[in-house]
């Protein structure tokens, strides 16, 4: 009886918060390609829900933007439709404009990108809501600076719009920006040094090494559906997917126990 009452209560809370009938995601999940990460999120990035990305420091904002593009690129391999980016002047000034050539490196072709440049906070919020509620988009990426932060009501409205649209919806928040309270998933992003490519393992330590695949440290800070945890993810530019870097193992002991040949 108590369980039933709690379930009813949860339902009503969810409906007030802008979710549909229950906590389970009605729009489904889309895997990113990194197995353990997807497992922790119960199948991947939730569709029709807001995923907030936050940097762990001011300088990590650039890495966070890179991760957002990589994540969108990985999802767009599995999903039709365009990537709608609701841009923000703060990010353009601090870290640059969206560069089509670089985005293609993450598997997003130029004709699949639609950029919206709202000129005020009200326009930013209304453009985000309009884009999130549109059916048939590949993904929506909004860049939120401190000035354009969402308060409780506007956050709920955006979450409701996203559940109508059904596309994966990301918000990249600036370091000092107010958190998005209605986020379904909140990830804290930090840069991580890349792994040396296999062919470059023997390079002398003093020399500068060649560049490996980009890598990020991901902290799941909040997840309404999955569990929390820390992950390290890489982007593979061969498969255009996110993946977990292989763990190096010391196999010298195993070599010793091999039977000697006569």
């Amino acid at each position: 009886m108590k369980t039933q009452a709690v379930l009813e209560l949860r339902k009503s809370i969810n409906s007030i918060e802008g979710y549909k009938n229950n906590c389970a995601n009605n729009n489904g999940n889309l895997p990113t390609g990194a197995q353990n990460f997807d497992k922790a999120l119960f199948g991947g990035i939730a569709l029709g829900k807001i995923t907030e990305l936050r940097p762990d420091a001011y300088l990590s904002e650039l890495s966070m933007l890179g991760f957002a593009i990589a994540l969108a690129g990985a999802l767009l391999q599995k999903r039709a439709g365009d990537l709608v980016i609701v841009n923000d002047a703060y990010f353009t000034q601090e870290w640059g404009e969206i560069y089509a050539a670089g985005l293609q490196g993450f598997g997003i072709l130029p004709h699949r990108i639609l950029i919206i440049n709202p000129q005020s906070r009200e326009h930013f919020h209304s453009c985000m809501r309009e884009a999130a509620s549109t059916n048939g988009l590949g993904a929506v990426l909004g860049m939120v600076c401190a000035k354009n932060g969402f308060d409780l009501v506007s956050a709920q409205k955006l979450q409701f719009a996203a559940s109508q649209g059904g596309a994966p919806c990301f918000l990249t928040s600036a370091y000092r920006a107010q958190g998005f309270c209605a986020a379904h998933l909140r990830l804290k992003i930090s840069p991580r040094p890349s792994r040396l490519p296999d062919w470059a393992q023997n390079i002398a330590p003093a020399a500068l090494a060649p560049l490996g695949a980009p890598r990020w440290g991901i902290d799941i800070e909040k997840s309404r559906q999955g569990s929390i945890g820390n992950f390290e993810l890489e982007f593979s530019d061969e498969t255009y997917n996110l993946c977990e870097p292989p763990v190096l193992a010391n196999r010298s002991d195993e070599l010793q126990i091999w039977p000697k040949t006569a």
């Binding site: 890179g66 560069y99 050539a101 670089g102 293609q104 130029p110 004709h111 919206i116 453009c127």
Partner: protein
């Protein structure tokens, strides 16, 4: 009274000491005349303001329009009444050609109450003075000196004698007035074939009231377009205020269409934005809806494959989103990126409005795409760097007062002068340098930057390092 055009102010004051002198504002007068001409488009699209000397007029080609107002006489009466309501006392003449109509309007006394003559009655202009021929004052003086004061007197002289004596202008002016030489009217606004007018019986005073009328006008225009199998790419609504002011709103679509609900939504959005600037005054009594850019609609094949159908639906959704948002925040703020064949990073893409879709799926060569960052600074930021000489990658650099040690790098990608000089960008301070060596670097903590060195170590000037992007 003794006052006349061209008289000096001293002379006028000698006649009337209490005369009040006000300086003429020709530009303002011209602007007002143009505004009035815009309002007069309601009578005919071939409408143009015309100024000759100090005589201000509006030319209307009413061929085929008069029956819409119940005949020529009613049309003239309607125009006179409307202008009288604005406080303008106008003279109207309706004639088979521009020259004779102008001459009658200014020099025939009957024009005060509106005058209309047919081709057979064109000889009436013979009794008008030669000023009605629109020639310069010097020629007029010469003709007066010879006693040729009326058009009729001039018309009796043989054409070759007229040319020999007074030059070709006189014959041309005479022919134009008598309808022997055609004279075009250049309309104040382009003539749009896809246009409907929606007259409103009782003038509308509020924006809420305007919306249903607007909906009907849009529906009428969409029906017109549908009957021609055309779709509008842009649509314009003109609201005619009863006191002669015209407002217009315009919306553009990403895909040409003739769906009234879509156009109404876009135009309503524009109306809400323009509402602050629009003063409906004494009300709006006419709405004109026009489609300046209409295209033939292509038949859309319905795909039975669910994936293809989803792709079509998705493309349509993006177009609709772009239309809605451009109506709200302006088309220039909704952009798509178009790759350009250029090695210089900042010149390798252009921004186009999302509404100008050309269905070009251009992509960038893979080997270039893998060398470029996802974010590119508008203007490269100068940094201090320690690097291997003469042309090695940076080991350490100072960016925004923070020191970074480089761990990994990729490059250099050298971009040399001919390419930079080909399309110089005035905003970039770097084009004076001869080369750029681009490096993608990763710092010890994993942050990635797109750096370049302009120039070489050991050259005439020291090289400079810049951050150009990252991510």
């Amino acid at each position: 009274m003794g006052l006349a055009m061209g008289q000096s102010l001293t002379h006028a004051r000698a006649l009337f000491p209490d005369i009040k002198a006000i300086e003429t504002q020709e530009k303002a007068d011209e602007q007002d005349l143009t505004k009035l001409a815009h309002w007069m488009i309601r009578y005919s699209p071939h409408c143009a303001p015309y100024i000759f000397g100090a005589k201000y007029s509006i030319l209307l080609d009413i061929t085929g329009c008069e029956h819409l107002f119940g005949g020529e006489a009613r049309l003239i009466a309607d125009i006179l009444q409307s202008l009288a309501n604005f406080g303008i006392s106008a003279r109207i003449a309706c004639a088979p050609n521009k020259g004779s109509a102008w001459a009658l309007a200014f020099y025939d006394k009957r024009a005060k109450n509106g005058l209309s003559i047919s081709a057979g009655e064109l000889s009436q202009i013979d009794s008008l003075p030669i000023e009605a021929l629109r020639m310069n004052s010097k020629i007029n003086d010469n003709l007066h000196a010879l006693g040729l004061n009326k058009i009729g007197a001039l018309a009796q002289i043989a054409p070759n004698a007229l040319v020999r004596r007074f030059g070709p202008q006189v014959l041309q002016a005479l022919n134009r007035t008598r309808g022997r030489e055609a004279e075009a009217i250049s309309p104040v606004r382009e003539i749009i074939p896809n246009k409907i007018t929606h007259p409103i019986l009782h003038a509308i005073l509020t924006q809420e009231g305007l919306e249903p009328a607007m909906q009907i006008a849009v529906k009428k225009l969409c029906q017109l377009l549908a009957s021609k199998s055309q779709g509008a790419k842009t649509m314009r609504l003109c609201f005619y205020r009863v006191d002669g002011v015209v407002f217009e709103i315009k919306a553009s679509a990403s895909l040409a269409n003739n769906k009234p609900e879509i156009w109404f939504m876009l135009l309503k959005e524009r109306l809400e934005i323009a509402a602050d600037k629009m003063d409906l005054g004494f009300g709006v009594d006419l709405i004109c809806a026009e489609a300046p850019l209409a295209l033939n609609l292509q038949v859309q094949v319905v795909d039975l494959d669910p994936l293809s159908a989803a792709a079509i639906q998705s493309a349509e959704a993006v177009h609709r989103l772009a239309e809605r948002l451009s109506a709200r925040i302006g088309a220039k703020n909704i952009i798509r990126l178009k790759p350009q064949e250029n090695w210089v990073p900042e010149q390798s893409q252009t921004k186009t409005s999302a509404l100008d879709n050309e269905d070009e799926n251009a992509s960038i060569p893979e080997f270039i795409a893998k060398r470029r960052p996802p974010f590119l600074l508008k203007r490269p930021e100068s940094i201090k760097a320690i690097a291997e000489v003469p042309d090695g990658p940076p080991r350490q650099f100072l960016f925004r007062s923070l020191s970074f040690k480089v761990k990994n790098f990729k490059g250099p990608e050298r971009i040399i002068e001919p390419l930079l000089g080909k399309n110089p960008n005035a905003e970039m301070p770097l084009n004076s340098h001869k080369i750029r060596d681009y490096y993608q670097v990763e710092t010890q903590n994993g942050a990635r930057f797109f750096l370049f060195r302009a120039g070489f170590y050991g050259g005439e000037t020291a090289p400079k390092w810049y951050v150009h992007g990252g991510g």
